[in-house]
Every structure is written in C-alpha cells, then in structure tokens.
C-alpha cells in the first residue's frame, strides 16, 4: 500500500492498472484525485482511493445524532438533525429525519406526544439514510436529552423517572436518554 498526500487534479495512477474508487475519477485513461487528502493504492483490489483530510459529514447508519423535534404526528416524530455526536462539521445533505412510533421506545408507545414534544432535543441513532433518514431511540442511551415545559418553556428537571418543571410544578413524561440533563453540547 502506497500512501502520499495528493490534491484535486493530481494524477495518481493509470486506468489500465487501477480502478477509480472513492475520491478519484478517471479521465483520458488516467486516474486523478478528486480530493485533497491521503492517497491509497490498494494492490489487493487494484483500486485507487483518496481519503479526504477534512472529510464531509455524510450521515450513515449507526451514527449517533442530536436532533430537535419539529413536529409530532400520530405515528412519528419529525426532527431536524443538528449534528453528529463527536463531529464539528455540519451535515452534508438531508437534515430532516423521522422517528417512527415503533422505533421510539423499547416499551409500548400509545401516543408519540407522550414521549416527545416539539422543541425537545433528542439523541437518536440513524437506522436508515436512503430514501429518507429514519432514526431510532429504542436503546437506553437514546432519547430526549433536554426538554422544555409545555406551559412555561423552562427547562425540565429529572425527578425519578419523569420530568418536573419547577416554576409551574408540573410533571411530564418523555422517552429519556440515560444521561438526561448531563449532556454537554
């Protein structure tokens, strides 16, 4: 495996020898780099690929994302994905995802509105990206990480297994992540 830094338009191989793969393209019988990054000439599969030094943030299945609930429907919650956990760069492409009622919790969910409300910040796992982004919050680590009171919009505090709003002394229910209230963004 040969490795070196290349920039877009740089010739990395000839088409007779290697096939273009991620980050490379073929032009006039030559393989050229499309990205600025590390060149990898894979002799096992005879493909040339370039791994970007500053890669784009494309959602993939299994990613843990933070999203804000924008709408609650009968069978799903619609969210706007804010970012991938542990990555600084904004998401490339579609940022709207849905959590289906069946993927919301490991327990029985009678109504989506009892587990999530518009405005909640949720940690979710990406379970599908094509044709639409589908999210799941079934595992204990996934779920609401920050919720606001329905009446006064002040942050809710975890008390036992439910959320309490101090100013209006109300109690609400959510599908909570196991670290509700201690998430650092």
């Amino acid at each position: 495996m040969i490795k070196r830094t290349v920039v877009p338009g740089e010739e990395v191989a000839v088409a007779e020898e290697y096939m273009p793969d991620r980050g490379t393209y073929e032009s006039d019988g030559r393989i050229l780099s499309a990205l600025a990054g590390e060149l990898e000439l894979d002799r096992d599969n005879m493909v040339a690929r370039v791994l970007a030094s500053n890669p784009m943030n494309i959602l993939k299945e299994g990613d843990s994302v933070f999203c804000r609930v924008t709408d609650v429907r009968a069978s799903m919650a619609i969210c706007d994905i804010q970012g991938v956990e542990g990555k600084d760069r904004t998401i490339t492409g579609e940022t709207s995802g849905t959590i289906h009622i069946s993927k919301l919790s490991s327990e029985y969910v009678q109504e989506v509105g009892r587990e999530m409300r518009p405005g909640d910040l949720v940690r979710a796992k990406v379970i599908q990206t094509v044709p639409s982004v589908q999210l799941s919050t079934q595992e204990p680590h996934f779920g609401v990480v920050r919720a606001l009171c329905r009446k006064c919009r002040s942050p809710m505090i975890l008390k036992g297994r439910s959320l309490r709003c101090e100013p209006c002394e109300r109690v609400e229910n959510r599908k909570l992540a196991d670290d509700y209230g201690c998430v650092d963004f």
Partner: protein, 259 residues
C-alpha cells in the same frame, strides 16, 4: 483626467513596467489554506497588494428550498469588497459589479466540482476582498478553489485564474491598479493547465487577434505557475496536519510499549 493618462508611461525603455516587472511577470502570490476555524474550508491569498479571504460551507441543505436542484448541488457564491478595500470608501453591500462577479465565479466553480454527487444541496462560497489592487475576481476565484479543496469537496481540478491586459500597446500579464485603470484592455481568464480548459474569460477594451493569442499564451504560463502555488498551499496545510497526527500517535504508542 486625460492628462494623467498621457503622463503615465507603462513600459520604459528597458521593457520594465511601473512596478519594475517584465511584461510577462506576475506579482508575487502567496496562498494559505485552512485559515478559518469555523468554515468547512478556507483560504487566504495575497497577490501583490490584493488581500482576499475565501470561505466554503457545505455541501449543506439548500435554503430557500425552491433553489434546490434535485439532480445536483448548486454553488452559491458571494463576492464582496470590504468598504476599506479601496482608497475611496466603497459603499458596502452588493452592487451590480459584485453580483456579476459572484455569478461568473460560481459558474466557473460549477464546472469543476462534482455537483452531481450531492443532489438538493448548496455549496456556499464566500469571498471577501480585504484589500483591492486590480484583478480581485481572479484572486477571488483562485482562493475559492483552494478553499473548496480544503473543505474536502470532490472536484476535477483546482482553478487558477489570472488577468492579462494591454497598456501602451503592450500585452502585459497580471495588471496592477494603475495599469487596470488607465490601460486599454483587461482580460481575466481562468484555465485548468492540465487540460487547457477555460472556465472564465471576460474582456473589456480591444485586442487584435495576434494580441489575444499572445495574451492567452501569457495566461497559460501564469496559470501553471498559480496552479503550483495552489497545490503547494494545500500540501503545506496537510503536511502540518499530518505532523500533529503523528505526534498523537507517538503519545498513544508509548504506554503500550511500557506495558
């Protein structure tokens, strides 16, 4: 006004220009990639007295939605001159000139970026001219293409651009402020040296066919030179990044060896 034009002699007896350059000599060019932390990709360029900053964001979801293209990404470019970039204060905000330049730069970049890989998204390019001294559109395009590469956006090639013009009946490369204002022609051109593909060409003033051929040959040579500087800027950026990564690796290895 006409007196000033008559007074200036653009080429002296030795064939030197007012700033001491030869007719086919470029002003010194310096590019640095990855200068802004919050942008996805960025570049800072100094070209003679021009100072240009370019920042790239995306590909990201395109707003307003009606501008989305379901088959490819769109490139939205904003070329802007700071109010302090010229000797008279420039009235801030978009004007006819900067809207035109934004359009031609985004069209030039659309020809090199693999936009078809990112349907429905927008790639946003911001070009800020901090200090202007002729040839800011080519400086902006040169910086923007380095910023795009720095953002990890797949593209066919880097885009070097340069202006060629005419003053005192001589074809001269890379006009400076005076030559641009009082010269008789200006021809900004962007060309990929590898293929000879022209991505941007405009002209004001007049040139004969022979003069145009000479101008194109100057531009081609200069584009190769600029291209090498662009590549060098990216290599330096990633060499420094690789250096820090190596340091981290060393730190990780040490405890293992001790264990």
């Amino acid at each position: 006004m006409s007196e000033i034009v008559d007074d200036i002699k653009f080429i002296d007896e030795e064939g030197k220009r007012i700033d001491g350059r030869r007719v086919d000599e470029m002003r010194p060019l310096k590019i640095e990639a990855g200068v802004l932390k919050r942008a996805d990709g960025s570049a800072y360029l100094e070209w003679g007295d021009n100072k240009v900053m370019a920042a790239v964001y995306g590909p990201r979801e395109c707003h307003p939605r009606h501008m989305q293209n379901p088959s490819r990404a769109i490139i939205q470019c904003r070329y802007n001159m700071m109010s302090f970039s010229v000797s008279d204060r420039k009235r801030p905000g978009p004007d006819r000139r900067s809207i035109e330049i934004s359009k031609i730069i985004s069209e030039a970049l659309e020809n090199v970026v693999f936009t078809e890989n990112f349907p429905r998204t927008s790639i946003d390019v911001y070009i800020e001219v901090l200090q202007a001294n002729a040839g800011t559109r080519v400086a902006g395009l040169t910086a923007a293409s380095v910023a795009l590469a720095d953002a990890g956006i797949p593209m066919r090639d880097l885009v070097p651009a340069v202006a060629v013009g005419k003053a005192d009946g001589h074809i001269i490369l890379d006009l400076n402020g005076k030559e641009d204002n009082f010269g008789s022609a200006d021809l900004p051109i962007a060309m990929i040296p590898r293929t000879g593909e022209v991505l941007l060409m405009q002209m004001d003033g007049h040139m004969t066919m022979e003069e145009l051929d000479l101008a194109l040959s100057y531009a081609k040579k200069a584009c190769q030179e600029i291209y090498d500087i662009q590549r060098d800027a990216l290599h330096r950026r990633y060499a420094s990044q690789a250096g820090t990564e190596d340091d981290n690796d060393d730190d990780d290895d040490l405890p293992d060896e001790e264990a």
